[in-house]
């Protein structure tokens, strides 16, 4: 059976509990759900504490890019359901940015696919973060080499 796929790009928040239920409640063959939730964090170790951010994306490409990444995960692991939700627009400190959830019969596939999805999303889906600090300055977040390295592990 083809996996059930849910992909959403939205400004509204999501409820992780509701999303987990949706992933497995209609399919009793599922034995594991692994999830990742990304949050707006302060990282006070860097220059100026972040208070909020704006997430820009490329409408039209974003959905396509996410669908491609999800398809690749489904080709690699036996998944029953996948949900990817990414928020756009202004987000405040502590708010949820992204949800990735993978449902499978067993945990190994769910864990691996979930990590693969967020690693690929971070390097291939057209989203850009612009942070605002407590002093009111704003700056574009720079891409991290560590993110590219994590994504490269899956090749």
């Amino acid at each position: 059976m083809a996996p059930r796929l849910t992909i959403a790009v939205q400004s509204a928040d999501f409820d992780p509990g509701v999303e987990i239920n949706r992933l497995h409640q209609t399919d009793s063959s599922i034995g594991a759900v692994a999830t990742f939730v990304g949050l707006v964090r302060a990282h006070p170790d860097e220059d100026g504490a972040v208070t909020e951010m704006v997430l820009e994306h490329y409408p039209g490409m974003t959905e396509k890019a996410l669908a491609k990444i999800v398809d690749e995960a489904c080709a690699r692991w036996p998944l029953a359901a996948v949900t990817v939700i990414h928020r756009v627009g202004p987000l405040r400190l502590g708010e949820r940015i992204v949800f990735v959830g993978c449902a499978s019969s067993h945990r190994a596939a769910a864990f691996a696919a979930c990590e693969f999805l967020i690693d690929y999303l971070k390097t291939r889906a057209p989203f850009w973060k612009k942070e605002t600090t407590a002093s009111g300055e704003s700056r574009w977040v720079a891409a991290r080499a560590s993110d590219s390295e994590r994504a490269a592990r899956w090749r």
Binding site: E56, Y58, M61, H86, I118, R124, A125, F127, W128, A143
Partner: protein, 83 residues
Amino acid sequence: MAITVKYFARLREALRTNEESLALSPTWPTIGALRQALAARGEPWGALLGADIQCARNGELASDDTPLTDGDEIAFFPPVTGG
């Protein structure tokens, strides 16, 4: 015979434009040639030549070798930072 070119994030800000429509020209058959032609407009367009600036054709990641055809939507942008 036209293409749409879009710019995102810090590149959009540097160029002070998010989108333009261009008549397709035989002088730039590929995305790389288009990039060079746009950069030749002078500052701030040189920003397009940044080594980290990526491109897409019709919503899919592309490269400088990717050919251009009528009706294409081309995008230039810095490395993505979502998730």
